[in-house]
Symmetry: C2
Subunit: 682 residues, 2 copies
């Protein structure tokens, strides 16, 4: 049956490319930065705008709080980066937040972090692609007019690419990321130069718009709440910072140090870009409203439903470079591309985290297998489906989707940092070297502050955003948590059930003799092969078994059996209802009843075919019989395959499939390295 | 995987009822009549109306041709009944038209008949249910206002009933059929009495309507063509006549004679009802138009799109009994019920024909198994899907659907009768008894006339209806034909490929030694059981095989292996990419390369679980490995099952499923009888 469902998949996805498995190389910092930082860096494309949007609720006058909010985000970014630099040194195996929480705070905390990260991957895809579409739309209006369609199309495209197992290369990430970073820096520098030196008055497209505040003259608690909400939205800039801590094994040596340096670099770039964009937005009088249709006023008239509010970065670019200029379009394209790369990050991270969770038996065991195509495919399809659903529900509106985001990130930040504090406490208990102790105390202080600050932000995010959508993210986390706990419980229960008893003798497990039965319908090569193999087994008794569904055929079978002088007794079972399964099961049960200590070995000739439709034409009775036999205790079932010529096709296909290249391998680093590291840890 | 797809099925369909398999009894004529005749008798509910509809094209004046057309239908009916009485005597095995055509005209004719019948079953469902909804609608307006919805709902209901395997009982058919027949006869008698004796002027609801002819004053060839088209539509009354020839084994003895008598009874009832309804329609001035919206005129104004044209039988009933009276409603309900029973007939016939075709390898072999639930389910779902599609496309309009009908019936009528002529010719060549010869010559004459007449009708139907929809039916037949030929060709090719060579020695088939490998991941009960079984097999060598995906686990495994003193050597394969399949396949291939004449037996402990979701959690790696191993020549794969506690659930479910009661068993007769008969035939 699985063959059947493969067909549409194969039509869509095509054959996987054969690729060199040894092509996995370690990443130098200049490549590692774009590979890991496309997610956090790309978030400066939407985070500044979100801050302004929230502030606009209190009217444009509230915009003057934005530098303060930017400052808070910068402090938070430094805190988080500093904290994760400790993680990277302490846990070089790449388990990331899940490993830290699991090891130091126990499995429940670990599972919480894992659930949060899984939800976060889904949202990374939804938010990044929606924002990418909006950025692309500032240059290509068609895109923004068909937002949902385009966003879903891009999700489908990324999904197909990842299902095919496109080989990642560092430069794929490097070029757009560096173009994007360079573009933003040129924009900031050129903007600052024009504004400060040339004293050129740059105006954003919305500079002469007005904002109708939803709540005029907000003050006191309400104002504080609004500022906290704006800060929460700005925290979107921090998503993806933890990615490097998952990818330490992919770095060149000294791994941890290089990872820590890259982390610092990334943090520096991110805050500079974030602040630069906010600054330029202030300087060019960008006006953004949460509900532009009615709150954004132009010439005294609300702009209405048809108005498309361009992202802050594109408005600033329009002001600095001029709308529609080469630089404007280049930056819009680079921004969109980096955002799509950020989404692609989640496609790599989701199944990777899945395989780690499978190792701990929170997910089906087979997902553990590295680079297993089927496992990855399921993960990728699940991720894409959930993201597409969110995009569709929220109309590919990044502002609405961001309300759901961040919760997951800060849950894992906070738990990870608390875990790190425990980690240092534990090590401090045994460490005697004073220099090391000092270092640990310092690290602990950083992590403690990190835990405190990220925890505070988590509370702020929950309080300010719960009703705006954060509850959806929490619900997603609960669903993941409950499902994974249930799977783990199931595995634990089974593992207890099948635990081997001590001592050598266990009667129920050791039969004394084996009675072999070869199922025969006609005399042909598969049957003869099955009989030959059965004879080789030298079991205590051997019988051929046929079910009489057609008297004429049975008669012919008996005659040929005799004519050929086959030296195995042929037993024919009657089947008044032309059934196959039931008479065989009854016969086997009778054998078992007569001598309960004997085992029965049922040998079934099986056709091996090459096409899915051939499965429908062969082996169905055998498969069903096998399914039933497995329920009968004391029976083992042997398939003696007979490869039809058409099976060559399937053989080749299976081989090709195994050579499939799992996405995300670049950021995981070589398998051997990871295994070595992780065994050192455990 | 098949377990997964079972879930929605099970939720909808529920558990099959346990029923007594010996409850199959032979049918007396009084029960056989309604069981087999619900299809042909019910067609008098729409056939008379179709005749009037077509005639209306030439204006209401053309209605006076209707008695002549009725006469032609009656003659045809007598011819067909007389012909099939010969079939029933000559082929008592119940193979029906397919068997007759296959035996006498060769496999191509047989397959053509089979394709025609399969299409016809689909159309029986679509037409009967649409007409039933229209009849019900004359009493319950809601039904006719939501025609497509109601028709599809009834298809779904019948499908679920048949999937559940509801036990058919003769009385289920007897009561509504007899109520319907009695109702129609009372209506005819009472109508005739009122009209002729009381001289009461009865008027149908449409008596004072007028018909705007689409083609005024049609004459010559055009008129003949129209009359032939009207006759073609009237032939709808003949559908289902062949059903009895499929059901001879279900009759009490003397089977053939009883079947022939029932056939004659059915023919007599059908023509009386058909003529009676046409006569009453004339007497009560029923007006029906092909396009009532514009061609049916009331008080000088076309009735428009909202007008619902009631079936002729209900208009006549309204005239005779009065609209809304008890008798009127009773007859409408009985008519609808009989039509739904007629649709149910197809649910029984479709999978039954499928199992006969499977025996001749035109359909997947496993469908042959009598009463196999899965096979029947697939057939039922296919039938229901196709019928629902047609109902949806044609808006549940029985008039439009009838254009597609009849083609299939007359294809099988004609080929069957030609086959019978050949049959008699063949027998006459050898028969010497003069009395028997006379009888055969008489039968041959009847079948020859039958073949000629039905062939003529087939040509008329094709010519007059091709563009009206008959091409759809022909297309359906071609699709069935091509698919079934391809399946047969595949089986023939495979059968040639696997044909056993003569002579005892065939090196490629006979290995000399067996090397056994037991796959081990951990030491637990399933592993111990697999090891114990493997030892019992006494193969030439025995090794335990483990794949090192996690160094720590492998170390623990080795240690426990030694501690327990397991006397089987443990071989550990390295797997740098954490794969399981590839290292095992490589190892097996190496073994084969070293000693190509040896066979390798791979023994895999397998978990037997009870719930579909547990399948996702267990055995996946083993299953995939097995799939790959089967492609490797010289390998056999043994599953040693370990039944987890949860497997009890699945065991019970499987048992219940096997006791499922296939629909249509009443009309098939006991299995033993059929097998005996058919082996007598062959």
């Amino acid at each position: 049956m699985s063959k059947l469902t493969d067909v549409p998949k194969r039509i869509l996805i095509g054959r996987a490319l054969r690729s060199d498995r040894l092509g996995e190389t370690l990443l130098p910092k200049r490549i590692a930065l774009p590979v890991f930082a496309s997610d956090p860096l790309s978030s400066v494309a939407y985070a500044p705008g979100e801050v302004l949007l929230v502030l606009s609720i209190a009217g444009v006058s509230a915009y003057h709080f934005s530098p303060w909010i930017a400052l808070a985000v910068v402090v938070l970014m430094f805190t988080v980066v500093a904290s994760y630099r400790q993680n990277v040194h302490a846990y070089p195996s790449g388990g990331g937040d899940y490993e830290v929480a699991n090891t130091n705070l126990g499995p429940k905390a670990g599972l919480t972090v894992a659930s949060a990260l899984l939800v976060d991957y889904v949202l990374t895809v939804a938010v990044s692609i929606s924002s990418g579409v909006e950025n692309l739309g500032s240059a290509v209006p068609f895109v923004v007019e068909n937002k949902v369609l385009c966003a879903v199309a891009i999700i489908v495209l990324l999904t197909l690419m990842n299902l095919r197992g496109v080989k990642e290369s560092g430069s794929l990430f490097a070029i757009p990321t560096y173009v994007f970073v360079a573009g933003v820096f040129i924009m900031i520098t050129w903007g600052a130069f024009k504004g400060l030196v040339l004293d050129d008055s740059m105006a954003a497209p919305t500079a002469d718009y007005e904002i109708k505040p939803e709540h005029e003259g907000l003050a006191g608690f309400a104002l504080v709440f609004l500022l906290l909400r704006a800060f929460s939205s700005g925290c979107a800039a921090l998503t993806g910072v933890e990615a490097i801590s998952n990818g330490v094994p992919a770095f060149r040596k000294p791994k941890s140090r290089n990872a820590a340096t890259t982390l610092a670099l990334m943090g520096g770039l991110a805050v500079t870009m974030f602040c630069g964009i906010i600054g330029l937005a202030m300087a060019t009088d960008v006006h953004m409203a949460e509900n532009p249709a009615k709150d954004l006023v132009h010439n005294g008239v609300p702009v209405g439903e048809d108005y498309v509010q361009d992202p802050v970065i594109s408005q600033v670019a329009a002001a600095v470079f001029g709308d529609g200029t080469f630089f404007f379009i280049l930056l819009a394209a680079a921004t969109a591309l980096v955002l799509f790369l950020a989404a692609n990050t989640a496609y790599n991270g989701f199944p990777l985290l899945g395989s780690i969770l499978a190792q701990d038996r929170y997910l089906p065991r087979q997902l553990h297998t590295r680079g297993d195509r089927l496992a990855f495919s399921n993960g990728i399809v699940l991720l894409a489906g959930a993201a597409a659903l969110l995009v569709w529900i929220y109309g590919a509106d990044s502002t609405r989707l961001i309300q759901l985001y961040i919760v997951g990130v800060f849950v894992s930040f906070t738990l990870s940092q608390i875990g790190m504090v425990r980690h240092w406490n534990r090590h401090l208990r045994t460490e005697t070297d004073q220099a090391k102790r000092r270092h640990m105390v310092r690290s602990r202080a950083i992590n403690t502050f990190g835990a405190f600050f990220t925890g505070l932000v988590l509370v702020v995010v929950l309080v300010t955003k719960f009703t705006h959508g954060a509850w959806v993210a929490l619900l997603g986390m609960v669903i993941f948590y409950v499902t994974m706990s249930a799977i783990r419980k199931h595995y634990d229960r089974v593992s207890e059930e099948i635990a081997a008893p001590e001592g050598p003798s266990d009667d129920s497990v050791r039969p004394s003799r084996v009675h072999s039965l070869v199922l025969v319908s006609k005399i042909h090569r598969p049957t003869l092969r099955a009989l030959a193999y059965a004879k080789l087994m030298r079991t205590d008794t051997l019988e051929a078994l046929s079910v009489n569904v057609d008297p004429a055929e049975t008669k012919a079978l008996k005659a040929e059996w005799e004519r050929r002088g086959i030296d195995v007794p042929l037993k024919v079972l009657d089947s008044p209802y032309r059934e196959i399964t039931r008479p065989v099961i009854e016969y086997v049960k009778n054998l078992r009843r007569e001598s309960p200590r004997d085992a029965v070995s049922v040998i079934i000739p099986e056709y091996v075919v090459g096409h899915w439709y051939e499965h429908l034409l062969h082996n169905q009775s055998a498969l069903r019989l096998k399914g039933r036999l497995l329920f009968t205790p004391g029976v083992m079932v042997t398939s003696v395959p007979y490869q039809l010529q058409s099976s060559e096709v399937a053989k080749k296909r299976a081989r090709r499939r195994q050579e499939w290249n799992a996405p995300g391998s670049v950021r995981r680093g070589p398998a051997v390295e990871r295994t070595k590291d992780s065994s050192k840890q455990s």
